[in-house]
């Protein structure tokens, strides 16, 4: 029901003549309102020192505000609120590790992806180098996640042990109950960074699935979408995209994760 109302609103909005669109409103107000996470490091989190929301998503949002020439205002959000904030007009954009899915495309528009993640593995060093080696291993997963379902369907030879959350699965790995654990790559590196015995483990050098994160834009705001896309392309061209990435996932950070995706690789 909620869904169909959202669709109706979106349909209505697109059918109206574009007298003044969202980009004009933003320029007139002088403020770009962007929904970002406030507790999901390193994408968006409340920095203890500066007491400001910062992170990779925030850096990207800042670049877009700069391009338009307005001030950036961050609207804190959680995963469930991202679409409602956009549809209700409480935010102009969503920059909150927002994964592109067909289901979401029915309600919002997406920019070019600026980040990619996927199902990865942490294993004891030297055990897991290729997906073929998964057969016969005991792998820990989180109950009810897409990772559990994907492994069960595609790798029936793998013994899965499902735990209540990722830290418990990681404890089972450190105890030797499982030989590897599987989750979203960016989540795994952050977890590995905290382990006291992290030198014993490594991120397996392959990714099973690919998911793309992009900026969410209200449905039908084509000028805003192309402006965001232009900004992202410029960031990649000037090398700023790489600089931003390295600031949060570079070799000197808490969660080093090699950059294997460039803006423009995926539309």
């Amino acid at each position: 029901m909620k869904f169909s109302i959202a669709l109706a609103i979106a349909a209505l909005a697109t059918s109206l003549p574009a007298l003044a669109d969202r980009l004009d409103d933003i320029q007139k107000a002088g403020v770009l309102r962007v929904a970002a996470f406030d507790s999901n490091p390193p994408f968006g989190f409340l920095d203890g020192k500066t007491r400001q929301i910062s992170g990779l998503d925030v850096d990207v949002a800042q670049a877009i505000a700069k391009k338009i020439g307005v001030k950036l205002e961050l609207v804190p959000t959680n995963p469930a609120n991202r679409i409602p904030l956009l549809v209700a007009g409480k935010a102009d954009l969503v920059a909150a590790n927002f994964t592109v899915t067909d289901e979401r495309r029915k309600q919002v528009d997406f920019s070019l992806p600026y980040f990619a993640s996927g199902q990865q593995f942490i294993a004891r060093k030297g055990i897991l180098k290729t997906p073929e080696q998964l057969a016969g291993l005991r792998v820990g997963v989180d109950k009810g996640t897409t990772q559990e379902i994907h492994l069960r369907e595609k790798y029936p030879q793998t013994t899965l042990v499902a735990y209540d959350d990722t830290p418990l699965a990681f404890t089972a790995l450190r105890n030797g109950n499982v030989q590897a654990i599987s989750q979203d790559g960016s989540k795994l590196v952050a977890l590995l960074a905290q382990a006291p015995d992290k030198q014993k483990y490594e991120l397996a050098p392959f990714t099973l699935t690919r998911e793309y994160q992009a900026i969410g834009v209200p449905k039908g705001e084509t000028r805003l979408v192309s402006l965001v896309n232009d900004t992202l392309k410029e960031l990649e061209k000037s090398g700023s995209a790489k600089t931003i990435y390295e600031r949060w996932f570079g070799p000197d950070t808490k969660q080093p994760l090699p950059r294997d995706f460039k803006i423009g690789d995926q539309s």
């Binding site: 005991r138 499902a162 735990y163 089972a172 109950n177």
Partner: protein
């Protein structure tokens, strides 16, 4: 078969998922059976210790009973599975988690159970034994003191008196309460899903996350638990007249 209404998600559980639940049921029954046997044996030992003439065994038994009866079973499971291994040296951990096979005579092999299963068996047995010991002690107290003295007068040692005079009478008295404890053990096995034992509750959650048929997944699990426990109680009750006759 007609399609179920919308609130049931427009779909029945596919046979594949019923198979998953069936496997879960088998593991639940097998785990519960082993826990009942091990818990009863351990319970008897604890009762004997608590009944000892000497102080030291009585204290050991009391410590065990107090620790296991007064802490949540979930915490004990987490302690056995996640906590204890972190104390063991790495070589011992590797051995525990590697597949082994116990060689039996006639060329048969008994596969080594998973560490999840072992931890569950240990935690549930200790927990169950602490309550079973309570029932047994109550049963022993209900046997008149004169019986023990009479056995002594006949020249039986303390152990002989316990084994041949006191215990058989106490067992008759504690039959019903013990059946209740065993029912509790079957239900308690469901907590082992937290440490990754693929028993019935774990399987039902797995079916739920795969099919999104929430009601069906948990309803079938409920029915299977109920069937298992009723069957178990029926089996326990049906032998009662013979036992009662022994009194």
């Amino acid at each position: 078969m007609p399609s179920p209404p919308a609130w049931l998600g427009h779909s029945w559980l596919a046979p594949q998922y019923l198979g998953w639940l069936g496997q879960g049921l088998l593991l639940t029954a097998w785990l519960a059976l082993l826990v009942c046997v091990l818990g009863t044996l351990l319970g008897i030992v604890l009762t004997a210790l608590a009944d000892s003439q000497h102080k030291a065994p009585r204290y050991v038994a009391q410590l065990f009973l107090t620790a296991h009866r007064n802490t949540p079973l979930m915490v004990q499971l987490l302690l056995w599975y996640f906590g204890m291994p972190s104390l063991l040296p790495e070589s011992a951990l590797m051995w525990l988690n590697a597949p082994h096979a116990l060689a039996l005579p006639f060329g048969l092999q008994l596969p080594w159970p998973s560490f999840e299963f072992l931890a569950a068996l240990l935690a549930l047995s200790c927990y169950g034994a602490s309550f079973i010991a309570g029932e047994l002690a109550a049963g022993l107290n209900a046997v008149p003191r004169g019986q023990r003295e009479a056995a002594k007068a006949l020249g039986l040692t303390a152990l002989q008196a316990f084994r041949w005079v006191i215990l058989p009478q106490a067992l008759v008295i504690v039959r019903r309460p013990l059946l209740g404890q065993y029912t509790g053990i079957i239900k308690n096995t469901s907590l082992t899903m937290a440490i990754g034992v693929a028993e019935l509750s774990y399987r039902s959650r797995q079916v739920e996350s795969q099919t999104l048929l929430t009601f069906q997944a948990f309803a079938v699990a409920t029915v299977l638990y109920l069937a298992l426990i009723l069957l178990w109680q029926l089996a326990g009750r049906s032998r009662e007249p013979a036992w009662r006759g022994a009194r």
